[in-house]
Symmetry: D2
Subunit: 141 residues, 4 copies
Amino acid sequence: MVQNTVQLKVNWGDTDMAGIIYYPNYFKWFDIGSLTLVNELGLSVINLMQEDKIGLPLLDAGCRFRKALLYNDEIRVVSRVTEVNEKTFRVEHEVYRNDEMTGNGHELRGWVQFDEFGNLKAVPIPDEVRKLLTEDKVLST
Amino acid sequence: MVQNTVQLKVNWGDTDMAGIIYYPNYFKWFDIGSLTLVNELGLSVINLMQEDKIGLPLLDAGCRFRKALLYNDEIRVVSRVTEVNEKTFRVEHEVYRNDEMTGNGHELRGWVQFDEFGNLKAVPIPDEVRKLLTEDKVLST
Amino acid sequence: MVQNTVQLKVNWGDTDMAGIIYYPNYFKWFDIGSLTLVNELGLSVINLMQEDKIGLPLLDAGCRFRKALLYNDEIRVVSRVTEVNEKTFRVEHEVYRNDEMTGNGHELRGWVQFDEFGNLKAVPIPDEVRKLLTEDKVLST
Amino acid sequence: MVQNTVQLKVNWGDTDMAGIIYYPNYFKWFDIGSLTLVNELGLSVINLMQEDKIGLPLLDAGCRFRKALLYNDEIRVVSRVTEVNEKTFRVEHEVYRNDEMTGNGHELRGWVQFDEFGNLKAVPIPDEVRKLLTEDKVLST
């Protein structure tokens, strides 16, 4: 189980007129969490896209919100690969403010080839990638 | 079951370098769908917040992504209230491009009182609101 | 002078904890205004990008904010091409809530070729495009 | 002249289908730069808003874009208070990737009282704030 942690801050623009975090931002953080994890594994998200025409689009995502985050809160997004299937993988995310989990959720992502017409087709996750994603390793950013 | 439909367009800024929609935008659309539905029912989201100190924060949200949306796609967000509990309600959302459902998901929202210190406390959904949310009615925006 | 108008609404997520619009949204609207204008002229932004490798990146942008926009305000973004130079063009934008101008500004955009390595190079605006951009025409979306 | 520097990263969701930064993000960074500077001076943006009903809304903003930023670029936003007027102040921002300035611009912000009805009224910047904003000091975040 590979795990990575990203440190972020709640910006003014991340709040809404209720004075608390606007919830779609959680999914921005999940996206940052997953892509940082992939980069930290040595699999450059950029190279995957530009050289191999491989993208990691979402199939499913969800979040349970537990505590209202506020402007200027410092948060940690802890992301773990919890499943590696033939053509998809699952990342679970937990968001913490100090020791308090304020929300947690998941992403199910495909391993997808983009053709020259912009069409997407799921393809098998290569063995060397599978190996990296299933390692037992704590990364840190 | 109250239902409402909002027409939207995929903007350039809603895409990312993969050339398709950046997925957290789906949750922005769900938020627009739910709040528009509440407004269309005659329950002003603004008055709830400013006069009654009532907000509708998220407890849970999820989405299944089926087709990649592209820049300039015209979409319809169809939102239905599918559950009204004591202090929470559930809205299910479907996003369509023409007749094709490109994604669908849900939000579970609380009926919450904000106190003067910014604390949130779930309170019972008033009967008149419950009545409105559980009506069998198709709104259109 | 080509002119185009786009109708938009201020969403909940466009506000911040001050209860008014979060200002970078004005530039999202300017971007929507310019690209819609280009599309409405019959110059598909998508085809320019995908077939001709032509993009319209920003060189300069600015906005003067006059009135605070609020959640649910209905706005009109009026965009006019006011200058067409050899390799750049300028669009001026006015944002209205009813008859009140709430803000106005500009964008200076380049006519830019993307090469296969992702490098950008300004190139002359083709004559047929120049003709379209300098026409005296009121489009409406 | 107070100066502050914030370190940020270009996220996947900050790009658009042209493969480069979506330009309104520059203004998000300017906003982060200014508010961080105010916080670092010991003037809590939150307390100003919640206790004194003072906000810092934008009157004017602009940016010149020099180089295209890409996904995963590490940037520094250097923000300087360059003018403190009776009821407004100006912050100039420079964005760097390593030693290269990729864009620079300004914000003119008001010192504004919010009344209980949500109306905004510019009021004189208090002397103790003026003193802090005009100090010659390099902060670092």
